[in-house]
């Protein structure tokens, strides 16, 4: 009985919040706290990520900076962005950077994030081209690079575990995650068709389970 009462009260609270939120039009280029993230901060974060991006664990690093440390966006926002940008052409990491930059500051944010991601590698790759005979000839250089790449993959694994804990509250999302992983990671099905099949199923199930008033986000 008391349970019903509290649920009724909470339901009304959520409804009130919902209407308040609908009153002001949500704007795409603003963080919900109403505070604008400076372009300089966006540039700094993504420049650093771009410069140290060996071996492809980059999405993990972006997740760490944007979600864990800076709280620029929620985990769900970030991960849905990952799924969204992975099925589009281009490099995953720069696509994710554009997604985050755009969410924070619109076109200037996206352009800043993309530019920052590419400045470091652009200079590094040209420098390396000048000195590459020397670099490849260095004893142990290629062996060391294997270690760097493995560490980057380890970062990706940790992000996977952390994000899985946060997104899969329930059997259905967990099942969706595991099936996607098996299809792409183990069976090596091509990514695009898998997402095009799994995505609509998962979204349909989520739509069915979403209450008609949106749940409050943390």
């Amino acid at each position: 009985m008391t349970g019903d009462l509290s649920r009724w009260i909470i339901g009304h609270k959520i409804k009130a919040q919902h209407w308040r939120r609908r009153g002001k039009k949500p704007e795409g280029d603003r963080v919900e706290q109403g505070e604008k993230v400076p372009l300089g901060a966006i540039y700094r974060v993504f420049f650093e990520i771009g410069l140290f991006s060996f071996g492809g664990g980059l999405v993990a690093w972006i997740h760490r900076e944007a979600v864990d440390i800076r709280k620029w966006m929620t985990n769900e926002e970030f991960l849905s962005g990952v799924a969204l940008t992975q099925i589009m052409p281009g490099v995953n990491s720069t696509n994710t950077a554009i997604y985050v930059g755009q969410r924070l500051r619109g076109l200037p944010g996206a352009a800043t994030a993309l530019g920052a991601m590419l400045t470091g590698p652009f200079c590094a790759v040209l420098l390396a081209a000048v000195f590459y005979q020397y670099l490849l000839g260095l004893p142990g250089f290629q062996e060391a690079m294997v270690g760097v790449a493995a560490a980057a993959i380890g970062m990706l694994l940790r992000t996977g575990i952390a994000s899985a804990k946060m997104t899969t509250k329930g059997l259905v999302p967990a099942l969706m995650m595991v099936l996607t992983f098996i299809a792409v990671g183990i069976l090596r099905y091509p990514l695009i068709p898998v997402v095009c099949v799994m995505g609509p199923i998962s979204v349909a199930l989520a739509f069915w389970r979403t209450p008609s008033v949106p749940e409050e986000r943390a």
Binding site: N75, G90, V146, G160
Partner: protein, 179 residues
Amino acid sequence: MNIEILLKLIVILAPLSLAALGGATSIYAPLQHQSVDVEHWVSVREFLDLFAIARVTPGPGSMLGTLIGWKVAGLAGALTASLALYLPSSALVFAVGHVWHRHRGKKWHTALETGLAPIGSGLLFAGVVTLARVAAEGILPICIIAGVAALMMWRPRLHPFVFLLGGGCLCYGLYLSGL
């Protein structure tokens, strides 16, 4: 003359940008065909060297296109090639993102977000396995992968550079000691 080469770079690379589904790996083959067989910008040997450079330097593997631009037309070529490679796909991501962010807060948007998030998680794990297959042969890289993941859970605020440096040093040390 120079302008002609730059235009040619754009004409060849811009479509590849939109064709690069699933990252840089899908453009290696057409890039090789165009720059080696058709345009004779670089020899096969040079192409492989450039490929190695793109792999050992930071940044996406499609920086290979930047290197080819640099090879044929210097700095202007490198800049042109980069823009041609990144702008088209980036513009597409931005356009889709624009629609996506505009509808924040609606029920179908919430459903899309909660529905796509576990798919994103699954893709992260798949990425781990796929990359490990390519980059990590033997027991040592597997240990580093597991070690870094465990260490990051224990100390999430440690700078990622520490892990990268640690992994590199460990492998270099083992190489020096002759293992």
